[in-house]
Amino acid sequence: MKVLVSVKRVVDYNVKVRVKADGTGVETANVKMSMNPFDEIAIEEAVRLKEAGVVTEIVAVSAGLLACQETLRTALAIGADRAILVETDVELQPLAVAKLLKALCDKESPQIVILGKQAIDDDANQTGQMLAALLKWPQATFASKVKVENGKATVTREVDGGLETIALKLPAIITTDLRLNEPRYVTLPNIMKAKKKALENLKPDALGVDVKPRLQVLKVVEPAKRKAGIKVPDAKTLVEKLRNEAKVI
């Protein structure tokens, strides 16, 4: 069984993100970049499925600048078998990525696509769902447990009310939540092996996908600084203020 896993190159989670001076976006020049943590969980899950003998091949894919190759190499070092980069310098929005992934699914015919539920840069949480709609495949988002057997995936999802377990017919889309697994540390031998694994470079045109942005960013600003708090004399005043001033209860 083949699994496709998408990985995104994002500003590292340790970096304090800054808005560009001209307000057009977030500063990424000379900033440490790494794999979106949810995507690391996605790759880890695919590797575990392979280690369990369920999956035979893992294809890691990414879309964006040439530098995304580094992220794909990391995916290969974690355990993906080969990688595909759809290279473009156009700013990619979720729908464009979903269309690219659909084209790759048509080409590769995986049984499962695993994605991070969202990327920590734009927090869109849309690509997996859009891809499911474009492919007309079933989807299980926010997975915290995945079991694959007999042409079926059983996925436990983290929903607002708790946990929900659903069964999906394959092929299907799964997006990962934080508690699905704890990604392994990459080993030195696997870093060295990753260099020798195949990494294909495609252009969006070759897949027949128009990646032009559909949404227009008007302005990006930093959140307002938090104001200093106040001390209240007793619990009664606190409840009163929460009810009447903050209007949260």
Partner: protein, 593 residues
């Protein structure tokens, strides 16, 4: 408490712009060491150092390793961290592929080792000692010994130790008394060794001790010392573990620092040992690896300095105290000129030490692998000259930086809970083990300068003079200030070298009284040379590169020139004319009681 962040930008800059990673990647056998591979390795190593090793540093210091009835229990989490280290295959990084290693060059191994040590110095000593022992067996051991021990040591399944010191034989190994009596194809080793780092621990099933001992008819002194492998457990012909050997840990020491690293007293009672190489050549074998070991300890100076700097920086940005001298309200202490001066001293010296260490690491690679014999020889001579400098200067400066780290914290630095004090305590051993600073300086002055009439040092000074021509072309005011400071520093070194060459024979006491000041002078100027190269590279790349980093690099180099390089002429004076009163006060008059 602030967490360790691997200074990857500075590391990569030093590797690429100063040490010549790309050139090392062209050497035969090092083709795997591309910039991309080195980056990927550094990224993963930084993850391991920051997420696994650093979180155990403080707790490891507080808890310490514990001895009970011959066994040692390392602090909570250490055994698990070591297991992860083995799983990661990190021990095999610099090891030859013949024994399951990755065969990567020193210039890639060095920043990785720096990160292990910055994350957790006590932990990092175990892999460091294993590398040293492995290296010795690889260079001097028989085929049988190599195939028996090296694969397991490369994988990290077994660790290695170095058993040199005995109570009466510290810096002077001629006094070693441990005996080795031949018995069939092996020897029986009897004696006591002290200060054995990771001589006993709970990480692995077996420990491979390298032991210096004398055979019954060995000549007196250093010419009668042989090197033996004494495993904790004997190894059967099929590689499985056999009987427990009579190599036991009698106790572990209570120390000023590196509490998590068990420092063992080892007792060998007719323990089974295998001769490494030939009899009576033990010390020569030790010297082969001495360069690597001394370099590794010099790197510890860099590592602790970096860690101490990061902790002080985090505190200085957070701690609000006092008003802005230029007017205004309360400010974090980093806004005060003296605190900033201390932080810049820490930063600039750490970066200078790192750059020199990486440049020497790359020279080791060129010295080992370059197809041109003359270049190999030149690089090896440069390495031999600089090893005592990297060891002595980086560790002395490491202590100074760790001490400044305490100072930046004020009273809180004296309190253990901030973690600043641990770095000072941990750093304190680095100027002592693998040869004290005094030993390094004597090696530098005696073997590396006087013995060859200063040839290698003068070749280096000629290189500095040529480099001055490159600096002269820059129109940047900072670069010109740096150039002037470097020229003055080079002059101070040249005059000191001339003095040493002229006086080492006829006035040995005066010459060696100035050995440590000379070593410091060499370190400061060699570091200043690298900071000048860094400044030039930064200036050249300003338009295209990471502007904030490069501007900071330029300013840091300027600070180093203004505040550190200026010490050079003073040190020269100490070397050349500071010895008059060193030996004159009679021993009995030293104490004015």
């Amino acid at each position: 408490m602030s967490a360790y962040v691997a200074p990857l930008k500075d590391m990569k800059f030093a590797m690429r712009e100063l040490a010549g990673l790309a050139e090392v990647g062209q050497l035969p056998g090092y083709e795997e060491a591309t910039i991309e591979t080195a980056d990927a390795i550094l990224e993963e190593a930084s993850r391991f150092a920051t997420q696994v090793l650093d979180p155990l540093n403080f707790s490891g210091d507080q808890e310490g390793s514990k001895w009970h009835d011959g066994s040692v229990t390392t602090p909570k989490g250490f055994k698990e961290a070591y297991r992860k280290y083995v799983e990661g295959g990190w021990g095999a990084l610099p090891v030859s592929s013949a024994f399951g290693g990755q065969g990567l060059p020193r210039i890639v191994a060095t920043p990785v080792e720096e990160m292990w040590c910055s994350g957790n110095m006590s932990f990092s000593l175990c892999p460091m000692l294993t590398q040293g022992a492995l290296h010795a067996i690889e260079l001097c051991g028989s085929e049988h010994l190599r195939s028996t021990f090296l694969p397991k040591m490369a994988s990290g399944e077994w660790t290695g130790t170095m058993n040199l010191t005995e109570p009466q034989a510290g810096s002077d190994l001629a006094l070693v008394r441990t005996r080795a009596v031949p018995e069939g194809d092996h020897y029986r080793i009897t004696g006591q060794k002290i200060f054995i780092t990771y001589g006993e621990h709970d990480f692995t099933d077996n420990i491979v001790h390298l032991v210096l001992a004398r055979t019954p008819d060995a000549p007196e002194g250093v010419k009668g010392i042989s090197l033996f492998i004494v495993p904790k457990f004997r190894v059967n012909a099929d590689g499985s573990l056999g009987q427990r050997n009579e190599a036991r840990c009698a106790s572990i020491e209570h120390k000023l620092g590196i509490h998590a690293s068990p420092t063992a007293v080892m007792v060998f009672e007719s323990a089974l040992g295998y001769l490494v190489g030939e009899e009576n050549k033990g010390l020569a074998y030790m010297f082969i690896m001495m360069n690597a070991a001394r370099f590794a300890v010099g790197l510890e100076g860099v590592s602790i300095a970096e860690r101490a700097f990061q902790r002080a920086l985090a505190y200085a940005k957070e701690r609000v105290q006092g008003r802005d001298l230029a007017g205004g309200g309360s400010v974090p202490i980093i806004r005060h000129p003296d605190v900033r001066r201390m932080l810049m001293l820490m930063k600039s010296q750490t970066e200078a030490m790192r750059a020199l260490a990486y440049v020497v690491a790359a020279a080791m690679d060129v010295g080992a692998r370059h197809p041109d014999a003359k270049l190999r020889q030149q690089n090896q001579a440069f390495v031999d000259l600089m090893i005592p400098v990297v060891k002595g200067w980086s560790t002395e400066t490491g202590i100074e930086v760790a001490s400044l780290g305490v100072q930046v914290h004020g009273g809180m630095g004296f309190i253990e809970e901030t973690g600043a004090a641990q770095h000072l305590r941990d750093a304190r051993i680095t100027t002592i083990y693998e040869g004290t600073t005094g030993i390094q300086a004597n090696d530098l002055v005696g073997r590396k300068i006087a013995r060859e009439g200063g040839a290698t040092a003068k070749a280096w000074l000629a290189h500095l003079e040529a480099f001055d021509g490159e600096l002269a072309k820059s129109g940047n005011a900072d670069v010109q200030a740096i150039r002037a400071a470097l020229a003055a520093g080079a002059k101070a070194v040249a005059e000191s070298v001339d003095y040493i060459v002229a006086n080492a024979g006829k006035d040995v006491m005066a010459t060696f009284a100035g050995a440590v000041p000379f070593l410091k002078l060499m370190g400061i100027v060699a570091g200043g040379w690298q900071m000048a190269r860094a400044a030039l590279a930064a200036e050249k790349n300003l338009g295209s590169g990471d502007r904030a980093f490069l501007e900071a690099k330029l300013a840091t180099a300027r600070f180093y020139a203004d505040q550190v390089m200026v010490q050079a002429p003073g040190l020269r004076d100490t070397v050349v004319k500071g010895s008059a009163a060193v030996m004159t006060v009679p021993d009995d008059a030293m104490l004015a009681a």
